[in-house]
């Protein structure tokens, strides 16, 4: 055990120094000293509980995706059958029980209809998206497959994550983290953001914009009673609109969706001085809008946002330029929010905030200061106790502890992990593990000396016998730490990370490094007795 070849010493010192050097940028920044730009600066991220900021967990309504898909299916089927040459007449279209079904007026059209539907049913070829059944030779039933729905939800979440990213970027906050979590969740973390209300409002807005014709044939009494004429649907006016509390009948199909926008800007109406949102369609959307407005001059249409009518103006003249103005009781902020939401595209699915954590920066800084102070007091007490009890061996243990702390910080910085408040407690525990290792070794050496062994043999046996228990204890803690990381979340993970990294560094510093130092001392001093 006393043999430490030079190559091994170099390797151990090298490892220690590299890990400790990686900790320097973090230490410098905490002390408020600049770190030269020319050097690499891996830095420990401070968790939101230390740095302040907002954490928001959003959840999507997966059932909504399925419903939307069914609705799209109805439109596709209708237009496919209408555009077929010759036209295939269908009737009794129903979307109930999660399925879509329709009746062919003429059973002879069955094969042609099936042919037309095949591309949709088979989807992208990897997963079969719908099952097609024919009942009584005349009724066609399309039911979504589980794979198809799963794929649709996954796609919706991917694009929802992208939309969320765009919206948050538009707010101009720095370094937000946006990660998809699990099947239907998105985590948003924004350091430094203390008032998450605007963020939540922005994310809560689906921004699904639709332009649909108002059904002028509907009887006002029916509309008020919530009864829609065939082919129409009743919508509520939004609370901010001039007609809040009222309802309107709107043609279900044939409108335009806002997903073909190229731009949206908040502005002010020249005449009324009201905040408005100016939108710009792409070529295809512009052409559709031009057609719709040309065919319906003098009729009124509804601007529907997230299922609520925000205004229902008239087409005074054909709108050919591809741009339009949306008004509807906006405040300058809500107009701006809507513009951001429209620019970033509609969310394919509604998102609900299911968890939100906000920490003010004052508290975070205060916590760090108090935590550091407490750790310093604790460290001094530990050092006094160790050196008081084990003398020279206590000094070695103390130096090993310092390296231990630096190495943990360095490795954390290198791995780009996050230090949280419980992480600081993890630190304390790791220091405990390192101290325990040295206590075990030193007590064992004492014991072996008492049994009359010579100095070198006693130290050798002490390290060897104690290592077994240290090894077993660390592996069990490692197991607990890994499980904590796997099953825990957020701050608990922060604790687990420090614990697991700390287990490795504490064995390395408290056992390996001290052994090297003790061996060096023994060779040089050749003591005949130990003060231990």
């Amino acid at each position: 055990m006393l043999e430490f070849p030079t190559w091994r010493k170099i390797w151990l010192w090298g490892l220690t120094l590299v890990a400790c050097l990686a900790a320097l940028p973090s230490l410098f920044s905490t002390a408020g000293v600049g770190w030269p730009d020319s050097l690499p600066d891996p830095e420990i991220n401070l968790g939101l509980d230390l740095a302040g900021g907002s954490h928001i967990l959003l959840e999507a309504r997966a059932d909504q995706v399925a419903a939307q898909r069914l609705e799209n299916m109805e439109e596709s089927v209708r237009s496919l059958m209408r555009d077929a040459e010759p036209r295939i007449r269908i009737g009794d279209v129903a979307t109930t029980g999660g399925q879509m079904s329709f009746m062919l007026d003429n059973p002879a059209d069955l094969d042609r209809a099936r042919e037309l539907l095949l591309p949709i049913v088979n989807g992208n070829g990897l997963t079969r998206e719908w099952d097609l059944q024919v009942v009584d030779g005349q009724r066609m039933v399309l039911s979504p497959t589980d794979d198809g729905i799963e794929q649709a939800v996954s796609d919706a979440m991917d694009s929802a994550t992208e939309v969320v990213r765009k919206r948050i970027d538009a707010l101009g906050t720095r370094e937000p983290t946006i990660i998809r979590q699990g099947d239907t969740r998105i985590v948003v973390q924004v350091p430094g953001l203390q008032d998450p209300d605007q963020l939540k409002e922005l994310l809560g807005q689906t921004a699904k914009l639709e332009f649909k014709l108002v059904d002028a044939s509907a009887l006002p009494t029916d509309v008020a009673a919530g009864i829609a004429p065939p082919g129409s649907q009743i919508y509520n006016y939004s609370e901010t609109s001039d007609f809040a509390g009222q309802t309107v009948a709107v043609r279900r199909l044939g409108g335009i969706r806002g997903d073909s926008l190229t731009n949206a800007q908040a502005g002010v109406d020249q005449q009324t001085n009201e905040p408005v949102v100016n939108i710009q369609f792409d070529q295809q959307g512009g052409a559709k809008f031009a057609k719709l407005s040309t065919e319906n001059v003098g009729k009124s249409f509804a601007i529907i946002l997230d299922g609520e009518v925000i205004s229902s103006p008239y087409f005074r003249e054909p709108i050919l330029g591809g741009s339009a103005q949306i008004s509807g009781g906006f405040t300058p902020e809500s107009a701006n929010n809507l513009a951001i939401s429209l620019r970033s595209g509609a969310l394919p699915v509604d998102l609900t905030v299911i968890e939100e954590r906000t920490v003010g920066p004052d508290l975070g800084a205060d916590s760090i200061r108090k935590g550091l102070l407490a750790m310093m007091i604790g460290s001094v007490a530990v050092v006094v106790l160790m050196i008081g009890s084990y003398g020279r061996f206590g000094v070695y243990a103390t130096i090993a502890l310092v390296f231990n702390v630096l190495m943990i910080l360095g490795i954390m910085a290198g791995l780009n992990t996050t230090l949280t408040l419980p992480g600081i407690a993890g630190f304390v525990l790791t220091i405990g593990a390192a101290v325990d290792a040295n206590v075990l070794i030193n007590e064992r050496i004492r014991e072996e000396r008492k049994r009359g062994r010579r100095v070198v043999t006693a130290i050798e046996t002490g390290y060897k016998e104690a290592s077994r228990a240290i090894y077993d204890a660390n592996v069990t803690n490692f197991i607990a730490g890994v499980l904590l990381f796997l099953f825990g979340s957020g701050p608990v993970r922060g604790f687990a990370v420090v614990l697991v990294i700390g287990l490795f560094t504490s064995v390395f510093t408290a056992v390996t490094l001290t052994r090297m130092w003790v061996a060096g001392w023994l060779r040089k001093a050749r003591p005949s007795d130990l003060s231990l």
Partner: protein, 325 residues
């Protein structure tokens, strides 16, 4: 220099002599803990109960108006809020439970949170908002399940490891000691109605870790002594092992305590629950390693043969040849 020696050499405390009364007391404590957990219940924080927690500092007051706050927030109609001081006299956390029916409504927690914050800000203009947590019932339920799962998984995995490294009796003893520690910690939280949050789960796992450390150090010595003193009666051998490791046990516990106590006294308020749980765990964990994990070995039938290497193939063939097997 004269070095400190906290434990005199050659202690010979008869720990095992009192194993039956201590064991009975421990079993009673475990039963009492679970009775407390089941009757008084655990005071779940927002992490596990769902709802809204707002932390504020009354910047221009020396003391937070707790009674007034309770009344004003209570008037919102979400039942009596739980208001606790944390850190300084003028810092409080206000907790509002989620009504039962809101558990299943998406966004209900956030909405309640916004109302509570709006109320505080309108009533007290000079209040500093230090942070708030809103957790929906669904997420809270998942946190609860995850936490229980993590605890059970950690305990079982660790017991299996001990079984593999030692003998099955040691695995059972270790598992029982852990069960004891977790039970007593939960009982403590039920008794004093301290807030039980995600951080406390971290603390309990840390306690498991620490208690294991202790248990393994004692077990390691028992294993060693079983091989060394083949003739010694097991209770005596266990006493010897505990005594031999006593200096280490005291020293380690003490160093951990001197590191933890400053954190309790001067550390950030948000860490208090976590640190208190770990501090308690040091005592409970040490006790269980000595009084639960070791005596169990006697009753589970550990003998001096436990660590004798399995008989070799040659031995076995010889025995079979002699007609004994």
């Amino acid at each position: 220099m004269k070095l400190l020696k906290l434990v005199p050499d050659d202690t010979n405390i008869k720990f095992l002599k009192w194993r039956v009364p201590f064991f009975v007391v421990s079993l009673l404590l475990i039963a009492a803990s679970w009775a407390l957990v089941l009757t008084k219940g655990i005071n779940y924080g927002v992490d596990f109960a769902g709802g809204q927690e707002v932390r504020v500092t009354f910047e221009q007051r020396a003391e937070a108006p707790i009674a007034e706050l309770r009344e004003k927030i209570g008037s919102l109609g979400y039942g009596d809020p739980v208001i606790q001081r944390f850190g300084a006299e003028n810092q409080v956390s206000i907790r509002v439970r989620l009504p039962e029916e809101a558990e299943s409504v998406p966004g209900a927690a956030t909405e309640i949170g916004n109302k509570v914050i709006a109320k505080i800000q309108s009533e007290y203009p000079n209040v500093r908002r230090d942070g708030n947590d809103t957790v929906s019932g669904k997420v809270a339920g998942e946190f609860r399940n995850d936490a229980v799962l993590a605890l059970i998984a950690a305990m079982i995995a660790v017991a299996i490891y001990i079984w593999i490294r030692f003998e099955w009796q040691f695995g059972v003893g270790g598992l029982f000691a852990l069960f004891h520690d977790v039970s007593l910690t939960l009982g403590m939280f039920a008794l004093f109605q301290m807030e039980f949050s995600l951080q406390i789960i971290a603390a309990i796992l840390a306690i498991i870790g620490y208690s294991l450390n202790d248990t393994i150090v004692v077990y390691d010595r028992i294993r060693e002594n079983l091989k060394k003193y083949r003739k010694m009666p097991v209770p005596e051998l266990l006493d010897l092992s505990v005594n031999e490791t006593l200096a280490r046990t005291v020293m380690t516990s003490l160093t951990l305590l001197v590191a933890l106590v400053p954190l309790l006294l001067f550390g950030p308020a948000s860490l208090f629950g976590l640190t208190a749980a770990i501090t308690l765990g040091i005592f409970v964990g040490t006790y269980s390693s000595i009084y639960m994990a070791a005596p169990l070995l006697v009753w589970l039938g550990v003998t001096s043969d436990s660590f004798v290497p399995d008989e070799t193939v040659a031995d076995r063939q010889e025995r079979v040849a002699r007609g004994e097997g």
